[in-house]
């Protein structure tokens, strides 16, 4: 059953050094505020899972939170490299980063299998490519009917899943709308769940009986953090700050400018700093 709490409490109670943590949101609804809290609490040795480790993991990895990254596409979308992740991989700064690399299809299927309580996922994929040569987790099964050999990946079952959503009602049920990504799967696949939301309302206002709603009892901590997806966006709340994504390229390119930005904007701030981005609603 979901419990309302502060972001600091939610991270303190649910995330521990060495945990396997998945923070999802496919461009939309990326839990930036929660990522900043993980950095502020100085968590270490995390295995970070994310299909698209973009700025949020660039920040966390650049600040030394992670020992390992499980991913399928790492970059600043439409802009270029995630410089801090590259610095970790290529130069072990601030520390070495182990990679477990998949394709998007495999990651999506692995979350799906985790949500479905299966130990592995089967996909028609990884054909004729080199990734299976460098990732021993990619294996195969033979179809018992046709004899066809298909690729497999182990299910993802994170210790902690962290997502950002549109809103929660007062019982702690959560609505996600728009590009829903693999948030439902991450929530259902994870042992513990933190959800940050734009607002807490009396009525979810789900417009369709088939809207993506996560019942309270599938969640752990629910935290209102208006603007908490910035510079990503929240459908119906505020738009993606494409200009920030472009600006991040310069901020993150050098270690010094990165550390200065993190000090000023993360270490010396709190989740309430995100509220200013939610305030742009009228303009969007």
């Amino acid at each position: 059953m979901a419990r309302f709490s502060t972001l600091a409490e939610a991270v303190r109670e649910n995330v521990h050094d060495g945990d396997v943590v998945a923070m999802e949101g496919f461009t939309h609804l990326i839990p930036f505020a929660a990522g900043h809290e993980v950095i502020r609490q100085g968590l270490k040795r995390l295995t970070l899972i994310r299909m698209t480790p973009d700025i949020i993991y660039d920040q966390m990895i650049g600040m030394g939170c992670a020992d390992k990254l499980v991913f399928s596409w790492g970059g600043n979308p439409g802009v270029g490299s995630t410089h801090r992740i590259r610095d970790a991989v290529e130069n072990a700064w601030p520390k070495a980063l182990e990679l477990e690399e998949h394709s998007h299809a495999a990651m999506a299927n692995a979350y799906e299998a985790g949500a479905a309580n299966l130990p592995f996922a089967v996909l028609r994929g990884y054909i004729g490519v080199d990734l299976p040569k460098v990732n021993p987790r990619i294996k195969s099964v033979t179809c018992p009917y046709t004899g066809e050999v298909l690729a497999t990946v182990p299910a993802l079952r994170p210790d902690v899943g962290i997502v950002h959503a549109c809103r929660a009602d007062r019982a702690g049920n959560v609505l996600i709308e728009g590009i829903v990504g693999c948030q439902k799967e991450v929530v259902l696949a994870s042992k513990r769940v933190i959800v940050t939301v734009e607002e807490i309302v009396d009525d979810l206002g789900a417009a369709s009986p088939n809207a993506v709603v996560l019942p309270s009892w599938t969640l752990g901590a629910v935290v209102a953090v208006p603007g908490g997806a910035f510079p990503a966006y929240a459908h119906g709340y505020y738009k993606r700050a494409n200009s920030f994504y472009i600006a991040w390229d310069k901020i993150s390119r050098e270690r010094e400018s990165f550390l200065a930005w993190m000090k000023e904007n993360v270490l010396e701030k709190g989740p309430e700093a995100f509220a200013v981005h939610a305030g742009k609603r009228a303009a969007s």
Binding site: G74, V129, N242
Partner: protein
Amino acid sequence: MNAYTQNEIMIIAAARALRNEDICFVGIGAPSAACNLARLTHAPDITLIYESGTIATRPDVLPLSIGDGDLCDTALTTVSVPEMFRYWLQGGRMSVGFLGGAQIDRYANLNTTVVGDYHKPKVRLPGGGGAPEIATNCGEIFIIMAMGKRAFVETLPFITSMGHGATGRERRSLGVKTKGPTKLITDLCVFEPDHETKEMTVASIHPGVTRGRIAENCGWAPAFAADMGETPAPTARELEVLRDIQARTKAAHARS
């Protein structure tokens, strides 16, 4: 004749390859520009699908990412990412997949993973994303890439997504029934696979480009088709629509 850049003719030639009835899985960047140009010109009914789950989207500006809000707002419907990869891509629903890449070889295999050794990379690239399964599950593949010797290489350090395989025969030997790369559209010319060898072969040269210039910008000795033609120059309308959406895009990204 209209003045245009080599990048513009690349995007325009790529757009022309698309048909009104295509169901197209769109990569971000140049593929997205080409696909939306096609939609705004000769292929108004084309179905554009992005891996973020947006189906039949009609963005007013080009998205910076694969999941900009505009894609969802203008889509017929938006599905989850697992459903997108399972039912729609793996389900064989896409007639065309449109890819870019960092490096390509003569059989149109692509590398977007690493330069150098995988475990001790010289340059760590973003990785495959959707490409490995796009390459085998879409009916055919169009690739758009500007030429240059660092991009068009004799031997790839890593095969991120399969084109026609290391020898041009791997699709068949691996039991893959889709066509693979049927067009490689560059800033200098358009390649198509040779019927027999599957080697990507220059099928048309952009106006004013020489064979020598193509060879200089290619890491292997490129083959030229016997019936090679000249790429028709961009029309005024194509240039206008392309520049218009790019201007709208730039303005929108600066604002937001």
